[in-house]
Amino acid sequence: MLHLSTLVLSHFRSHKLARLTFDQRPVAIYGNNGSGKTNILEAVSLFSPGRGMRRASALDMTRRPESLGWQLQSDLVRNERIHQTKITSDKGAARRVLIDDKPVSQLALGEISRVIWLVPAMDRLWIEGAEGRRRFLDRITLSFFPSHAEASLNYEKAMRERNKLLKEQIRDAHWYRAIELQMAQTSIEIHTARMRALDLIQNAQDTATTEFPAAQLTLEQSEGDMPTLVDDLKSALEESRFRDMAAGRTLVGPHRTDMIGVFQRKGVLAKDCSTGEQKALLISMILANARALKDQIGAAPLVLLDEVSAHLDNQRRAALYQEICDLGAQAWMTGTEIDVFHELGDRAQAIHVTDADGLSHCTQHESCLI
């Protein structure tokens, strides 16, 4: 089991001070538009490596007008062990993470907690650019393999170095080869992890009885195939050097990968599916991710579902709640009305968020029967 048993938000966005306590059940958060619901989900998303579900800077998350900085505190409970986790930012400076009072790198969060999410901005995931799909895929991959974060950071770093050489028209072949070797090594790690993650998702979708339609997923490069050997990718980078110099950036590698989704049962590309079908595919993937993770690490991840409930018909919504409860996941869900959570009854706890003059206020309830 993995869950948050406490969460304290201080000076975090619209929340000045919220002290919340939880048991293992899912959490239904309801309240008017702009009351501060998504802000709570964002806070939870920060208990995993990366920039959180809004990809915001520490400064953006600093409560205005005070602009003092912010702090999130949580007791993360994983298989009965409590990890006191604190994330702070001083006056908008970069985040610092402390686990059990020890300063650690952000990546250390990935060793304890796993957090996955679905947010309204992903509604257009299948029809917009590859970047969003790649980011979604990397989130999934990271949830299975925490070392994916480091490989990705290292790859990005090396690629920025190479792009700089390209832009400056530097022609030192030794320098390129040294960087390209690093890029090739990290690329293969990234690609292998992504492929393994897709396999896990595919398998978890195929073996479950679920109300949600399976997505069939493949990876595609913007051109050619992604080499699977370090040496092949190294040569591909070397061959591409001249062209890349003209473009001023690197044109081959895992940053050019796209994830293609197909509505499996119908054989229709996800991008050509109806709005509701596209969303259902994403829910199917998120649930599969949670099930596969539970198999892998013995605990379902924290699942953040922002404004998912309201857009589902009654049957699908009931099915989603049932699947979440069966998983034993502490899912965090938002909606403007408590009604959409009624079906959950006492299988979930609730928070009512209200807003007064730009200040969020939270009231906790034992169940969704309010």
């Binding site: 290292n154 920025r160 030192d172 030794h174």
Partner: protein, 197 residues
């Protein structure tokens, strides 16, 4: 604060030192002032001397008080091995271990296109010269295992080519380390570098 400008200037300067903040700087200065004769005065003398004499070794980049450092000056250390490190602190760490008997070459950083640090900024050409002039048979790359450190290591290896034997420090389980605390990368490096028991 009246009449103590020098002391406060000293505190401000001390606070700029790595590892010290304003609070620890105040405490340090107060402590030194209280132990004036056996801390502050000798420290001031020594600092003056060091300021006058400290310099980079023209050969390897080590910090010493002469143009050529003790290590480069010692014939005993000319065993044909040269250990390439990023920083003087790394050289001193190797020396504390006392197991390496060759000479060093301090790069003074790592390659970084983004920070405009190229091979010429890093004493790489000098390394090439030294391999010939000091009849070096083995270059040991002891760079940090960061991306920049490794890029620099690969650069040097690639640049030197096959004229000289190039080795690198092993990566793996630290002595006294517990497996449970190691990250995936270290464990896989250690597993790849396993050897007969």
């Amino acid at each position: 604060m009246s009449g103590a400008k020098d002391i406060h200037d000293l505190i401000d300067l001390m606070a700029k030192l790595p590892g010290l903040g304003p609070r620890s700087a105040r405490r340090t200065v107060l402590h030194m002032v209280r132990k004036k004769s056996y801390l502050l005065a000798p420290l001031a003398d020594l600092m003056q001397q060091v300021a006058a004499s400290a310099r980079e070794c023209l050969n390897c980049g080590n910090i010493g008080t002469t143009d050529i450092c003790d290590i480069c000056d010692s014939e005993k250390r000319a065993n044909g091995e040269i250990c390439v490190v990023e920083d003087v602190a790394d050289l001193w760490a190797m020396e504390r271990a006392g197991v390496f008997h060759g000479r060093y070459h301090v790069l003074g950083g790592t390659l970084s296109a983004l920070d405009a640090i190229g091979p010429d900024e890093l004493r790489v050409p000098k390394l090439r010269d030294r391999i010939a002039s000091e009849s070096i048979s083995e270059v040991i790359l002891a760079l940090n295992t960061t991306i920049d450190g490794q890029t620099t290591a690969h650069y040097i290896a690639d640049e030197l080519g096959s004229d000289v034997n190039i080795t690198t420090l092993a990566k793996g389980v630290p002595i006294g380390g517990e497996l449970d605390y190691l990250d995936d990368g270290t464990i896989s490096a250690a597993l790849r570098a396993r050897k007969a028991f």
